[in-house]
Symmetry: C2
Subunit: 200 residues, 2 copies
């Protein structure tokens, strides 16, 4: 299915790991990427335009889209619905482009079920040891909070096994370089090519 | 097996595709790589030293190494034997380094049988169309020779399916960038990591 298509790259990881910053840096360096555009039930803010920041839909329309299985993933935040519409992703893939989806761990799980041929990248914080050092070094948190944060971090890292790649976000330039390399390598992957001579 | 080890990268492809040039350029840019060192039965040339350019062995010693399954691959060229000794590769892998093996298609097949967890990269000439254009454009070959060369190129490309990656050697800097990206990406591959927090 993906062979003659573009590529869906899913960047996920624990909250606060810096995936947004990494993706923005990647976009700034690489014009070949396109962002996924979400559907939302929240009202447009000043300056936001349909199909640019979001696709704006009513709750009824959103519900119908869920019923019709039109989302790669969806979730509710603060009373509003947000979802990644298949039509937008398919549109980009059919143009043989690369679409980047930056999303939380639960969303990535849903996407993987519907589109396992995507490239799934998990961003991790620097190693627990480094993380512990930072937290202690900062001196702003109690021992108890630090222990709890480390326990959560360790548990979240279990999700790595469901991903294709893991990138440590220790130094941003290095992490962006790795994201770029993964995309370039995947474009060279024999699995992804039907008849590579036609590619590029 | 490979999880706590380095990585064996095999670069192969049709004769004359420029894999040697690419590998030398890759080495010049990346100090983290080590070359595989072959065992040979040919005599040392002036300036060549044991364990640097080659490991020099007698034919009897070489035969014994074959019998003991001490080679990842071996072959005879012009009356001399050449082989990739496992001991050297294992030594580099145990030091968690990356070892690069630039080798012909038959040799790569042997390596894949013995060490399928390696990263197998196939270098291809520019697409047949481009190749045809070049050959005709050059005007030094007869129609018949060109047809034969294109047929051979097309047949050799069948081997791609046994590899992990395919890199087109159209523009050398671009091809080297792809090789680098593949190695960086493989280092981020979840499959290759036992406990990534310990990595790097």
């Amino acid at each position: 299915m993906i062979n003659n298509k573009g590529m869906l790259v899913v960047v996920s990881g624990p909250a606060g790991v810096g995936k947004g910053t990494l993706c923005r840096a990647l976009f700034a360096q690489w014009s070949g990427l396109e962002y996924s555009i979400s559907v939302t039930t929240r009202s447009p803010r000043p300056g936001e335009r349909e199909g640019e920041q979001y696709y704006f839909r009513t709750r009824e329309e959103f519900s119908k889209m869920i019923d019709n299985n039109e989302f790669l993933e969806w979730a509710e935040f603060c009373g509003n619905f947000y979802g990644t519409p298949k039509f937008h992703v398919e549109n980009v893939l059919n143009r043989k482009k690369i679409i980047l989806l930056e999303i939380d761990i639960q969303g990535a799980e849903q996407v993987k079920e519907q589109y396992p041929e995507g490239v799934f990248i998990f961003i991790v914080p620097p190693s627990l040891k480094t993380l512990a050092k930072r937290l202690y070094g900062r001196g702003t948190e109690t021992e108890d909070i630090i222990r709890r944060r480390l326990a959560i971090a360790a548990r979240e890292l279990d999700n790595v096994k469901d991903y294709d790649y893991v990138v440590e976000n220790d130094e941003i330039n290095l992490a962006v370089e790795k994201l770029k390399s993964i995309i370039i390598a995947e474009k060279c992957s024999v699995k992804r090519k039907s008849f590579f001579l036609k590619e590029e």
